[in-house]
């Protein structure tokens, strides 16, 4: 008797669940993820005001998909990206939206989700963005694994995707060609290693230790270092990894102390980079420590505090915008972004937010010119992003290069008394 009822009850509950799932599927509209930021679409377009010069009427909103990692191991990247995109959407919609090619004003209906730094969740979300939200273009993928994971989904669905992660395999397929539907805004890790190499050459350094986080970003960056070392004749005397979110590096650092490395190159994000730097200082190393662009976030300075003094790393120009020479073509754009971000969040933006800025603005520009047509947006991105001044660099996207920026978009930065200091290439030999 007990078992009978048990099975029945299970059946009933199951049926209820499935029915409720179907119910939401067939009847209810998709939930806007953030009602205050993205106002619900108005059914009837507002009648044009009876003035002499009629403002453009309002058309259907353009649905843009976004997914960032606001929790999990790469959340320090995802949070500024999320914030930037929310801010830009608010600005665009506050101004009435985008003037589309049809002459109507279109609000941006931004659907954004957290992938929790999990590649599988990213795939789920992208399917949802495409199938349910009907996004015409997608931006996001804070971590490289999440970005790599969704390539196939966006390719099959033929929806353009602009990634904000740096790994080269996001845009470059195994055969060396560019993934048709995928673009990315951060620099590759290769030019970052090139800048590090320039600095090492200026110091006459030939032997280095390379220590990286064991994830797609760290691995890609370490591979870039190997390539540069081979090309330019550096010797990697020690190479090792640590797990994401590890905070004890004594074993690795001790092993490095046993080598004759002249510099330690680290490939990490602030989460691991800050504790690593503190322990590096505590252990009394006499060689310099050079990070890569992964640590370019205020949280690195806040967490590492005194230990951050003298840390060097190549990164996009945003961090040191105020110190850039006025001749720099990006200076005005960088300044605008910085001012807007400070006004919205009360703190300085990071380059990660900058990657999201580039991705969002590229999509916005494409929407203005070609409207909500995924294929046309993709073509626009591939052919019309030329001398395009963004936050991460001056982009020249081509069919053979879906990144579009290189070494010239990077600067070397030194952390000096808790602030970012721009290092001119002519001063490499004297720094630190």
């Amino acid at each position: 008797m007990k078992l009978k009822l048990n099975i029945l009850l299970t059946g009933v509950m199951l049926a209820a669940l499935i029915l409720s799932a179907c119910g939401t599927a067939t009847t209810s509209a998709p939930l806007p993820t953030e009602p205050p930021a993205a106002p619900p679409p108005t059914e009837a377009p507002a009648a044009p005001p009876p003035t002499a010069v009629p403002a453009p009427a309002e058309g259907e909103p353009y649905v843009v998909g976004a997914f960032f990692s606001t929790t999990g191991p790469v959340s320090s990247l995802g949070e500024p990206e999320w914030g930037t995109v929310a801010m830009l959407t608010e600005h665009v919609n506050g101004d009435g939206g985008i003037l589309g090619p049809d002459g109507l004003m279109h609000k941006i209906d931004l659907r954004k989700y957290d992938d929790q730094s999990d590649a599988t969740k990213a795939v789920e979300i992208v399917k949802k963005l495409i199938e349910e939200d009907k996004a015409v273009a997608i931006i996001g993928g804070s971590g490289s694994p999440a970005s790599i994971a969704v390539i196939e989904t966006v390719t099959n669905a033929e929806v353009p995707f602009i990634s904000v992660a740096s790994s080269s395999v996001i845009v470059t397929a195994a055969d060396g060609s560019q993934n048709h539907w995928v673009f990315k805004t951060p620099q590759q890790n290769y030019p970052v290693a090139q800048v590090q190499a320039d600095w090492m050459k200026a110091h006459g350094i030939t032997k280095l230790a390379s220590l990286g986080v064991n994830n797609a970003f760290g691995k890609d960056s370490m591979a870039a270092m190997q390539r540069v070392a081979q090309e330019e004749g550096f010797e990697i005397v020690w190479e090792g990894t640590f797990e994401p979110r590890d905070t004890d590096f004594s074993a690795q650092l001790t092993a490095i102390q046993g080598t004759d490395a002249e510099v330690l190159i680290v490939h990490a994000t602030p989460g691991e980079g800050a504790p690593l730097t503190v322990q590096f200082r505590d252990m009394g190393f006499e060689i310099p420590i050079v990070h890569n662009h992964g640590i370019g976030n205020q949280s690195f300075i806040n967490t590492a505090a005194d230990a951050a003094q003298g840390v060097l790393f190549p990164i996009g120009k945003l961090l040191v915008v105020d110190q850039l020479p006025d001749s720099d073509p990006q200076k005005a754009t960088l300044k605008t972004y910085q001012d807007e971000f400070i006004a919205a969040f009360g703190k300085k933006p990071s380059t990660f937010g900058g990657h999201a800025w580039d991705a969002f603005m590229m999509v916005k520009e494409a929407l203005e010119h070609v409207g909500p047509d995924s294929a046309a947006i993709r073509d626009y991105l591939e052919t019309n992003i030329v001398n395009w001044v963004g936050i991460s660099g001056v982009f020249n996207v081509t069919a053979d290069d879906h990144t579009g920026i290189g070494k010239e978009s990077l600067v070397l930065v030194e952390i000096d008394e808790g602030t970012w200091a721009y290092v001119d290439p002519s001063n490499y030999a004297d720094t630190p």
């Binding site: 009978k4 059946g11 199951l14 590649a119 599988t120 490289s144």
Partner: protein, 326 residues
């Protein structure tokens, strides 16, 4: 006994009917994909409920076998070029076999030790797939896994994948029902009640537990292989400890010793997770996804403390009590 079996059959046919009828009712491929995921989790959960509910053994590393199946299928088809249907079968068999051999030393442990050992197994497995990047793709994941195809028929759409996954899920449910109602099932229940007594009566507890564990591992391997072939991409984070805990949550919600509860547990956790992910933002600006673990954690505690038989059986008890009071 007879009525129970026919009611079980009724549930089978009811579920089969729902499974067949669902896709046309559902609005889009994303919803199909979500229900497909539930099917995959059902295979994992039903195996876990056999191990935990019927054999009474803790397994906190079930995602390991899920991962072994997924990586085996990926490697066999993408690297060794085997046809994907053969990769699916081999991955399933291989995972079952690995489960069996891992089970030999591990099932000599009990209670806390077993819990710890299975957790440790999961940690080691995660580290291996992250570190052996030449074979597994490492943390960047394993991409371009060929879709399942049988004799020229390619399961290349979400709907096709849905049908094959649920066909397999129903098969695992059916097999599990038979196991539970067989001699093995009775032996298992005896072991659960008192292992010493069972052994005194000539039940070789270890052999039975091992067989069930291997079967559950095989189910997990099948689920993992199908998952890899459905999503064409796998990465270590899909198979880490938190996934194992999530599977335990599903099993607990469905009822540790309830084969049919597995479907309910899997569905409940998937839908609840989505609901939380969508709504969390409204409660606290910027808060999101991962905080769902608060809810899952509390659910686990509440179920284990107040209704260890699971939500369905616990609900039953409540109903009965209410009826008594009336």
């Amino acid at each position: 006994m007879k009525t129970r079996f026919s009611l079980g059959q009724l549930a089978v046919w009811g579920l089969v009917a729902v499974v067949i009828a669902l896709p046309p009712l559902v609005k889009n491929n994303y919803q199909i994909f979500v229900v497909t995921l539930i099917g995959l989790y059902t295979m994992l959960t039903v195996g876990l409920s056999l191990v935990m509910g019927f054999a009474g053994q803790v397994s906190l590393g079930h995602a390991t076998f899920y991962g072994i199946g997924a990586y085996a299928a990926a490697l066999l088809s993408a690297m060794f070029g085997l046809p994907s249907w053969l990769a699916l079968i081999l991955a399933t068999a291989l995972t079952g076999l690995i489960g069996f051999f891992i089970g030999i030393p591990i099932f000599r442990l009990r209670g806390h030790y077993l819990a710890m050992a299975t957790l440790g197994l999961n940690v080691i497995f995660s580290l291996i797939i992250k570190n052996e990047a030449d074979i597994t793709g490492g943390p960047s994941g394993f991409a371009h896994i060929p879709p399942l195809s049988v004799g020229g028929f390619v399961f290349d759409s979400d709907t096709k994948m849905y049908y094959i996954v649920w066909f397999m899920a129903l098969a695992t449910l059916f097999i599990s029902m038979n196991v539970v109602n067989s001699r093995v099932g009775r032996a298992l229940r005896a072991i659960h009640t008192s292992e010493v007594a069972a052994e005194a009566l000539g039940v070789d507890a270890n052999t039975y537990k091992l067989r069930v564990f291997a079967l559950a591992a095989g189910f997990a391997g099948l689920s993992g292989a199908l998952y890899a072939q459905a999503i064409h991409f796998i990465s270590p984070s899909s198979f880490d400890i938190l996934v194992s805990v999530e599977l335990v949550t599903m099993t607990a919600i469905g009822g540790l010793a309830s084969v049919w509860g597995s479907v309910f547990g899997a569905a409940a956790v998937v839908f609840l997770g989505q609901f939380i992910r969508d709504r969390m933002n409204e409660l606290l600006e910027g808060a999101s996804g991962e905080q769902e673990i608060i809810v899952f954690g509390l659910i686990l505690v509440v179920i284990m403390v107040f209704m260890p038989e699971g939500v369905t059986a616990g609900g039953m008890k409540l109903l009965r009590r209410l009826r008594m009071e009336r």
